[in-house]
Symmetry: C2
DNA sequence: GCTTGTCGTGAAAGCGCTTTCGTGTCAGGC
DNA sequence: GCCTGACACGAAAGCGCTTTCACGACAAGC
């Protein structure tokens, strides 16, 4: 435990050097106008000569606020499958960057914390180091989350509709509906469809699946459900197995773009062309979706906006405004080549 | 400034409730074995009954250490070009996630901070809130960085070889060499080559360019240099302009994978096939490199390992070990279809 | 029986800021 | 000339922890 900081310059030394009191130095640091001009200048000079930087810890202790927001996400075990697989940044990273950006605009910093699902202890501990918490996806179950949010400012990103905690999410339902209607009612009128779904426990995935089932049921189309771990490059393998065992569908609706890419790979390896033989769709519209072959038909989620809204909601709450209700942002169907509807 | 935390439970209340002193409570929190078993249990019970979470600020102040590492990166202005462009996660995000992971393993958290190039003030201010700093790419110029590193634990990620500050970087030189030799000496023996380079100010880019020039000079091959902003989706546009104005080369060596993808798009729009008409190569081997059409020949950087090493080096330094020398990790040529050497 | 040493605990002094409160100074009003 | 009020500033009291130091209890050694 020798994690000591250097011998820092403190406010006392600045006070001594500038011939004033620490109160005055503190006022200067914080831009209090009630300091005479000449005094202010003397203090500022001393600060820069000594290279003084105020201690965040001391300030935090005194103000009872750290100026830090926590960003809590599920720590995926990447390397799992194939060690030569490069990492796989996506949706989560975009949210992270956007959240940091918005936090900075509001005068906060963002502290990252990856946790295993259900690791309430780690999240609770974070509570002592940040002013507010933004929890991604299914970091905690809903009960634990409510327990937390009751005593601490928190928002749930991509959470379940109807949760007690403030939720910021995209309109999965409308997105899936638009996609499904395009596929079932559009030029192709697909009737033989497979949906690759993610774990039921993930709110977004559950919402997508529910919406899909509603649309298909209304049209009397039966949808075969295949379950895979989303985002794992193992998707290709899992899909290959199912393809070998079952009749090939006309279209495969994937839970997200990564899985869609894996699916395309698996189809190709079986000698099937996309979209000529099988149509494929993704979800999220990650950046690569337009660059892969074929470019993916998908549903765009406004991840950047969502993250910004989540942060703003949190900041409002910290500024004393009352808690927001759920925030729902629209999704948008993006038709590209993989569904076979455009040349 | 009403960013107040709730009325937190403090160590005093735990002490009172458990019938001991705050010293004992502190010892229990920190796992000091010199507390009798029965006492420890009483304290733990009080802690959980009250929902006590120690204040990071108070602890930080007392210990003179925050347990936080800062991750400083260049804040790119994404939205710039086309608002409908989804975000573009990549190299930086992978580094971020890996750094967080490794930091957590060492008992630290990671604080994100995006800054504009040369924004020394922001970086300096960070110094008051974290125990150590990891600076990506060209956040500060070398002089400012040395000034900082002199008084504060810092490592420079992807920095310039030979810098005074501890640098963690990949062996750009060897990677470029392997790639260039493959292209110039391999099956195709290209002689008409264009290199799309990034800004000279970025160490990694400068290193790549230098290495390329050495290899080509040794073979008497002249390389035309085209400069673009790396990572911007504007690459396609910039390349299109050059293609219209100059003779089409046999191969285009791109400064990174994103630019390579943009370049492929630009070539296609001119009706040129890749790699049949023009070969294209990338750099980094981001995850998508293998999924785009055609899969990219590129040079893999061990970003995850680099980030982990950077964090470990920082932690060693914080633990009192002396400063590390430069850490250089190998790169690896990955030959895929875009260079036309494999079917 | 006394001394010595070990063990477990509590008192109290910080850590480096912010902020309240009180005081001295000076301008303006009578 | 004195009183009042505004204005700048400093003293000092926290903020909630960690850690040193001293002390009491008790076991072991002679």
């Amino acid at each position: 435990m020798s994690r000591r900081q250097q011998d820092r310059v403190t406010i006392y030394e600045v006070a001594k050097r500038s011939g004033s009191s620490i109160s005055t130095v503190s006022r200067v640091i914080n831009g209090d106008p009630a300091v005479r001009q000449d005094n202010r200048e003397r203090v500022l000079r001393a600060i820069s000569e000594l290279g003084f930087v105020p201690s965040g810890a001391a300030r935090g202790l005194s103000r009872r606020s750290t100026g830090i927001l926590g960003f809590v996400f599920l720590r995926e075990e990447y390397h799992a499958t194939r060690p030569e697989d490069p990492e796989w940044p996506g949706y989560l990273d975009v949210a992270m960057r956007a959240a940091e950006r918005e936090a900075e605009r509001s005068g906060y910093s963002l502290l990252l914390s990856g946790v295993r699902p259900g690791d309430e202890a780690t999240v609770t501990a974070l509570t002592g180091r940040v002013d507010g918490l933004m929890l991604m996806d299914e970091v905690l179950d809903e009960e634990a989350l409510d327990r937390l949010a009751e005593r601490f400012p928190a928002v749930w990103f991509a959470g379940r509709a109807g949760a007690r905690t403030t939720v910021v999410r995209a309109d999965q339902d409308a997105g899936v509906r638009a996609l499904a209607e395009h596929l079932l009612d559009g030029p192709h009128r697909f009737t033989d469809v497979v949906a690759i779904v993610g774990p039921e426990a993930v709110s977004d995935h559950a919402a997508r699946r529910r919406a899909l089932e509603q649309v298909s049921a209304a049209r009397d189309v039966r949808v075969r459900l295949w379950t895979v771990e989303p985002g794992s490059s193992g998707a290709a393998g899992a899909v290959a197995t199912r393809l070998a065992a079952e009749p090939t569908p006309e279209v495969i609706i994937c839970v997200n773009d990564e899985v869609a890419i894996g699916t395309v790979t698996a189809l190709r390896e079986r000698g099937l062309r996309v979209p000529a033989d099988v149509a494929v769709t993704g979800f999220d519209d990650v950046w690569i979706a337009r660059y892969v072959d074929p470019p993916l038909t998908t549903v765009r989620q406004p991840v950047t906006d969502l993250a910004a809204q989540a942060v703003r909601s949190l900041v409002r709450r910290l500024d004393g405004d009352s808690t927001d209700g759920p925030i729902v942002l629209p999704t948008q169907l993006v038709v590209r080549r993989s569904c076979g509807c455009v040349p």
